[in-house]
């Protein structure tokens, strides 16, 4: 190998050999340049009062007005609180339930049953948000909804319009998210559990350890590093909400905004409904900057625990 390389280097410079590599990377680099880097220039809109007819660079500059408006209103606080708190609950609950599900599935004696059940549990992951929203509507609709039927069966009030009641929504959103995501998250833990050597369990069994003890002292400790890393990674993304969930399932209902508006839906509504481009960009920039800082911090922590799993 070295010999041929040396020979070739005599004939033509190294970079000529590398031309095909540059060509192969080119389409990808162009995509990133156009669709990831060019929009970053557009972030200047956060400091402008954008007039679409004038374009990005000729619109009047307003300094930090967009940010002042955002942070002086209660909006910034509400959307930040909602984004972070929902994500925190989603992350912790999802991990707990996914590990539990993986533990239970791995104990089933019939592998065939376990496999079939796993296939069913990951099904909701493959549904799109509009479909999930319609499924939710089948339950929550005031006139025909199934939930009102259950409530009435237990003697509760009839015909509650769930899309007008603020209180139950945090619970509804958590239930929908767990239903959609837990089965899928369990996949990773199932794979990890199957990778644990059987010898540990055999030794434990000979020492008379019960199944619960085995889970507690063998399985969970083995999953610990993975759980920690997934947890920290998830915390790195805590500033990014799931737009599909918060937009489609509550059907973008204004009454529910105090508990359903997150940064992502706020940016969308500021842009698409209010056409306040400057403000929408400012809120997006706020999200990007804080999100970036959080990724850096979480990655730093991960690289301390398990350098192999660090992003950089």
């Amino acid at each position: 190998m070295n010999v041929t390389q040396k020979k070739e280097r005599h004939l033509r410079p190294r970079w000529v050999d590398d031309i095909p590599l540059y060509l192969m990377a080119l389409p990808g680099l162009l995509c990133l340049l156009i669709f990831s880097y060019l929009p970053m220039i557009g972030l200047v809109m956060a400091f402008q009062k954008l007039d679409l007819r004038k374009g990005i660079f000729t619109s009047p500059w307003v300094g930090l007005d967009n940010f002042k408006f955002l942070f002086y209103s209660t909006d910034a606080w509400v959307i930040t609180r909602n984004t972070v708190c929902y994500n925190a609950v989603f992350i912790v609950l999802n991990m707990f339930l996914a590990v539990l599900l993986a533990l239970l599935l791995s104990e089933l004696i019939s592998r065939k049953l376990a496999k079939t059940l796993q296939t069913i549990f990951i099904m909701p992951h493959f549904l799109s948000w509009p479909v999930v929203a319609i499924i939710a509507f089948a339950f929550l609709s005031a006139n025909n909804g199934f939930l009102n039927k259950i409530v009435a069966f237990f003697g509760g009030p009839e015909r509650t319009n769930w899309y007008m009641e603020v209180k139950p929504w945090p619970l509804i959103l958590v239930v929908v998210t767990m239903w959609k995501g837990v089965g899928y998250s369990a996949i990773v833990y199932l794979a990890a559990i199957s990778g644990i050597s059987q010898e540990y369990y055999e030794a434990a069994m000979l020492d008379g350890a019960s199944k619960v003890q085995q889970a507690r002292y063998i399985t969970i400790p083995h999953l610990k590093t993975m759980m920690t890393i997934l947890l920290i990674m998830a915390i790195g993304g805590i500033f990014r909400g799931d737009f599909g969930l918060f937009y489609t399932v509550p059907r973008n209902t204004g009454t529910l905004y105090p508990v359903t508006n997150i940064i992502d839906t706020y940016v969308y509504n500021a842009m698409a409904v209010l056409s306040n481009y400057g403000m929408a960009t400012a809120a997006g920039l706020y999200q990007s900057v804080v999100g970036c800082i959080l990724i850096f911090i979480s990655n730093k922590i991960v690289s301390r625990i398990e350098p192999d799993n660090a992003l950089f």
């Binding site: 190998m1 041929t4 190294r14 590599l21 540059y22 060509l23 192969m24 990377a25 389409p27 990808g28 680099l29 990133l32 156009i34 669709f35 990831s36 929009p39 557009g42 972030l43 809109m45 239970l104 791995s106 089933l108 004696i109 592998r111 496999k115 069913i120 549990f121 099904m123 909701p124 493959f126 549904l127 799109s128 509009p130 479909v131 319609i134 499924i135 339950f139 006139n143 025909n144 909804g145 039927k149 089965g183 996949i187 990773v188 199932l190 794979a191 199957s194 059987q198 055999e202 599909g244 489609t248 209902t253 842009m271 929408a280 960009t281 999200q287 990007s288 192999d308 799993n309 992003l311």
Partner: protein, 304 residues
Amino acid sequence: MAKTYNRLNSISPGWNIALSVLLTISAILCVAPLVLVVVISLSSSSSLAYQGYTFWPSEWTTVAYRHLAKTGTQIANGYKVTIAYTVVNTVLSLFVMSMFAYVLAQKNFKARRAITLFAFFTMLFSGGLVPSYILNVQYLGMYNTFWIFIFPGLMSFYSCVILRTFITSSIPDSLFEAAKIDGAGHFRIYFQIVLPLFKAGLATIGLFKVVGNWNDWFTGKLYITEPKLTPLNTMLTRIMDSISFIKNNAANLNDDQIKAILNDMPTESARMAITVITVAPILFAYPFFQKYFVQGLTIGSVKG
């Protein structure tokens, strides 16, 4: 999943039954919401009017589906757009990303570090929704064109990293070197050695893309108003929006206006039928490709 389970160490038969029953009930509860939608799509409008949404309507009918088959040119169009979006974007993007991954896998390539940094930064920081929207609409002229489905989603660095992991783990370095000694250029190595050898990697990323594209409703919502170019999932959000519109504006609209909107709108069972035919292809397909999703997820989470 554990291949070698130890018979002695498995849970007692009694516990096994209890656990099986518990998990089976959970699984039934897990599919029940979707079953409800399927049942509503098969309920007659009179039983919906009397009973509301139930799992066991008094009258079953396939009239909603027959109606859609007869009048659903828009649905047929939605299918066409969704399939074209899914296929074209997935194929092109696999091509772009696998070439990029091949470059990332070349340990001796001088510019590799610079290219990685350039691409990696896009994972950390983004311009966000508004600048992308303005760029795509005002400067690239992709509003109401099919191209909006194809180009912006071509490249994901994260997927490239997973693809690179597939290349480096399934194709030994010595194979590349042998090919180079035989005088094969990079393009030849990529097409004749790499592509055929890492089908599993392409399948994994490709399937993630297929599901993502099929389920993408937001691109259509943001950039498409032309009915002919509206994907199925965007159509679903439009239908839901028009219901909300009537609800919220019922006081301001007169009866004729409401009637006009209602006439345009599919009946309750038809709405659910549209939902069912939107998800059906994915739901029938995913069990067969489950192994690739598992593979992609475990590689992604371990070597991300």
